[in-house]
Amino acid sequence: MADLSALKITIGPIPYLWSGEKWRDFYYRIAESGHVDAVTLGEVVCSKRDHFTRPFLPQVVERLTASGKSVALASLALVTLDREVAQTRRLAAEAPLAEANDLSALRLLAGKPHLVGPFVNVYNGATAKLLARRGATRICLGPELPASSIASIVAGAPDIDYEIIAFGRLPLAISARCAHARAKGHTKDNCQFVCGDEPDGLDVDTLDGQPFLTVNGVQTMSRHCQVLLNDLPPLADMGVTHLRLSPQDCDMVAVAAIYADVRDGRMNPDEGTTRLKAIYPAAPFANGFLHGVAGMDWVAA
């Protein structure tokens, strides 16, 4: 049995467009949480949003670092424009620690220690090994991998750290087209930042009223919130080292406390799940991908 207490808790990048002040205050609270070990932040979904948070970035990084968190800056997931290429190059050159979310960042970070984010396709140990050889020290695996794949990937490149998304709506797809702007009668190029109107994403239901997906700018996310509270011992056993909590518009400090309490045996997973539902009632919970079934399914412990 692996030591559960060795599982570190990380906060992933905020996927949504929040105002700069809300974004800053969110991280100031995270800085005060004793349960969060590491934070990866920065705009991953849409380069047009970058200017909302950029003015606050230096002070947020400083605050998080001063409170002892390990901080990494995430690169953009879909890079097409010259300005996005330039932004990725700047990040790779200047960030003390960067998380690559596109092949472009992998090229630019080769040879120096870096993280790999969930938007880079790592489906097997051979790929993990290749990335480790190029300087990856931790890989946050993509959402659709079953436990059998995770175990095999870790075994294939056991000398680096592995992170999995243990809480939050899952990133499922990204497009050149903005469905969020389109739903409100705009195009991407003249979007008027309408994605900022939904700080927890825009619901997509079926025509028969079934809750289905979440639109977040150019990204499509799961409607369900991934919750892996029941699965911490097997994850630690297979060599996962970090649990990523992906920010939703809820009390993420309290979410981190629940994951820490369940990890450390102070709370059982059922009670943790009940409490999570009170903190984040907006979404049904799912853990299907890990169990090798449809990602939206809930497999009971």
């Binding site: 097997n124 290749l130 997509v204 449809a294």
Partner: protein, 325 residues
Amino acid sequence: MELICPAGTPAAYREAVEAGADAVYCGFRDETNARNFPGLNFTRDELREAVAHAHSRGVQTYVALNTFMRAGSEDTWYRATDDAVAAGADAVILADMALMDYVADRYPEQRLHVSVQASASNVDAVSLLVESFGAKRLVLPRVLTVAEIANIARQVDCELEVFAFGGLCVMAEGRCSLSSYVTGKSPNMQGVCSPASHVRYREDGPDMVSELGGFTINRFGEGEPAGYPTLCKGRFHIADDDGYAFEDPVSLDVMEHLDALRAAGVTALKIEGRQRGKAYVAQVVSSLRAALLAPKDERPQKLAHLHRLSEGQRTTSGAYDKKWR
């Protein structure tokens, strides 16, 4: 520009060769390629015969091995690659970096093409795959305008291939888990999207409802043709409205951008449709071949009847046109 044509069966392969393909792409009958559909694709023997037939006609064969190797079962992909190389494939089309590494290491003389599933959409991403694995050609994802394609072509040291006709992925290829979220099966892992095994049609009063994994993807009124429930092309409720939230059931047709793509430095045009029958392949390939040879003003006439073959009978230039975003 070269014309790269799909073949899901040996019969479609022969039609594509007859109709004027410069190269035909196909895959093995398993999860090693992204069109892993029942009744489709090639046995090892069929591939060897197809390669030989094509070579006798001066046509090339590309073998798509463009899913991601399932952890623990990598050998399935390595053996398929060995067999494609042994069969004389003129190129292998790969998405998984570890499989690219395998080919670069084991078969340095083998021509390596990067699949659209690798999702390389900018100069640094393309260059990574050229520098690391010796990729000779890269198929660009359908997220770029013609101007952006030209910009990449100017800066990279490999050939570029783009999708010109057929199905349209709305999401960046190789980065989409929508299908597995609903059905447990994905393009990257199982080589399927919105698989038929999870599709159901049911009548509801006068409506025909199409479902995927128990979710309503579309609802068709009387007289409205009921299309296949591809997840991202369904009608949903979003922002107080019912509509095609991501994309209408359209297909891709960029033939009006032919000259611009040529000027952009694109080497090859790819036709999507390995799941299509041989008659479709024959018609599309011969029409596009005729259009490529014709002067600009005669092109529309060469392409006119193609519109009838398109999914839902409506087409789009997709991301090639900036307005699509």
